[in-house]
Amino acid sequence: MKEIKYIVDTTLRDGEQSPGIALRREDKLKIAKLLDNVGVYEIEAGIPCLGQSESDCIGEIVSCARNAKISVWSRMNVEDVKKSLVCKPHILHIGTPVSYIQIYSKLKKNKAWVQKNILDCVDISLSKGIDVTVGLEDASRSDIGFILSLIKELKKSGVKVIRLADTVGVLTPGRTKEIVETIKAHTDIEVEMHVHNDLGMAVANSIIGAKAGAAYVDCTLFGIGERTGNCNFYDFIHASEEIFQFAMTKKQVRELEAECYELLKGAM
């Protein structure tokens, strides 16, 4: 019996962040509908804080979704979280810097500040009845001790899923296995893999992360995304369908790609 794994498609968020494309409202609605039809578990539809039109578009995607959960991305910032909830997503994804370079150099804060802020943000979302996924940004360059202590607090506050983000794409299969297994051994949180392809290892790391216990895997159509892109949806299904059960076949993903190619080719 193959293990069931769930695809989180982030073409409309991380994928669209790739320079070279700008999707219109109708483009996003079309892609979201196709992803929904093919059986994607969750569609990360965008960033409401980009502006009113983006927020409205995401609201439409939410109201049209038949099977998929629609998530939105927000910075770890109370005001952004409040704005993101306006379009009533099924899931709020909060990007949470956890590496020292992100905490001390980008945010110019400390670990205690990160912990307090993320718990405040989580509380706001959950109090409105919207599930939260916490994205541990730059987890691959982080102190695993801090990650584990943060996960324990998040779990206590009601978070069920964390996204393990290899933000700069430096994981290797061995390191991926080590991190996911450590998290699974010390916590009972669900893990979502989110890897980038900077070293050409996004598919391999996603497979190894899923084998080590991650239930969710983030992908994008054609592997589009920042820099070298994210885990390629088709390639991941093609490589791992022998050991994992997915809601869709690789043939369906190929057909989906064909329907979206013209809209996304600028990011390739």
Partner: protein, 327 residues
């Protein structure tokens, strides 16, 4: 000591370039830190002679070619004789075939090619098994890339099990990609950090010329667009510390970061681009109007802006707002 063999020059037989280009390809491979360069007989004959520097492997079909073409560091072939300087190659497409390696455990050296689906089938146990079945053999792993995992397998082999891999530039011939393996080794174990990867754009250009193909813009390490940044959050980080969103400095592979203005840009990115283009920076309210216009234009064109388009928008919005410039 880790040893990386690049066999790109065994895959050019149908598009053999000039003698000069072949020699240049070898020189650039040596510069990026390739230990051993493998070439086909046809490529060698076109090259006419071996370069003075470096170690070279000749791919041969018959044992007698070994005596005919002398001066090579090693020879590769598909027969399994235990000859001096010979590295036989065996293709393994299924993890269950690993047990058969016992039959050729007499080989001093052996290249194992294939193993495409190892990532799904427990690469760690399989690699252990290979070592166990060939206790006295120096194994060179040449993972193939049908499932986009070849570079990852080459890296895992080098990090935990063996010392030798075969890869090829840009993943030519369905192999792991030389540049990905080199960069991963540099980042993970500081392998050859003093080697010059700034020639990679020249090598890419030469590869594209020889094969008459275009490398994907997003190809790891060598893609033309991999250092472009658009989203507001990343542009902001770029100004604070580029290492926040970069695994390595673009300059070390002959590239450079490039700020692109588009739908996902924020006020900070617009200010940075204005400064980069030596244009006047207006006050915040004007920048917000510029952003509105940028989003509108990008949505219409379904694309990001080139610098000229951005400058035109900046000039137009600036003029409409009466030049509220603060510096």
């Amino acid at each position: 000591m880790l040893r990386i063999t690049d066999n790109t020059l065994t895959g050019f037989d149908k598009c053999l370039p000039s003698k000069e280009d072949l020699h240049l390809f070898c020189r650039l491979l040596r510069e990026i830190g390739i230990d051993v360069i493998e070439i086909s007989l046809a490529a060698y004959e076109k090259m006419e002679y071996l370069p003075d520097d470096g170690k070279y492997i000749l791919q041969v079909d018959y044992a007698e070619d070994i005596d005919r073409y002398t001066g090579f560091y090693r020879y590769t072939c598909h027969f399994h004789e235990n000859l001096e300087n010979l590295m036989p190659e065996i293709q393994i497409n299924d993890i269950r075939e690993i047990i058969k390696l016992r039959a050729i455990s007499h080989c001093r050296e052996l290249r194992i090619a294939g193993l495409d689906d190892l990532m799904c089938n427990g690469y760690d146990k399989a690699m252990e098994e290979i070592k166990k079945n060939l206790p006295n053999t120096k194994v060179n792993l040449n993972p193939e890339n049908t499932y986009h995992c070849a570079s990852a397998m080459a890296i895992q082999w080098l990090l935990s099990y063996g010392t030798d891999v075969t890869v090829s530039f840009a993943g030519h011939k369905n192999n792991g990609a030389t540049e990905e393996v080199l960069m991963a080794l540099r980042l993970v174990v500081r392998h050859k950090p003093n080697k010059d990867l700034t020639v990679l754009p020249a090598l890419t250009k030469l590869y594209e010329k020889i094969t008459d193909t275009n490398i994907s813009n997003k190809k790891p390490v060598i893609g033309k667009c991999i250092f472009k940044v658009e989203s507001g959050i990343h542009a902001d980080a770029m100004s604070k510390n580029p290492a926040i969103y970069e695994a390595y400095e673009p300059a070390c592979v002959g590239g450079k970061s490039e700020l692109v203005i588009g739908k996902h840009s924020g006020t900070k990115a617009v200010k940075m681009k204005l400064e980069e283009l030596l244009l006047p920076v207006p006050e915040e309210t004007v920048i917000l109007k510029m952003l509105d216009k940028i989003k509108e234009v990008c949505s219409d064109s379904r694309s990001s802006l080139c610098d000229e388009e951005f400058a035109q928008i900046a000039a137009k919005v600036g003029a409409n707002e009466g030049n509220k410039i603060h510096r």
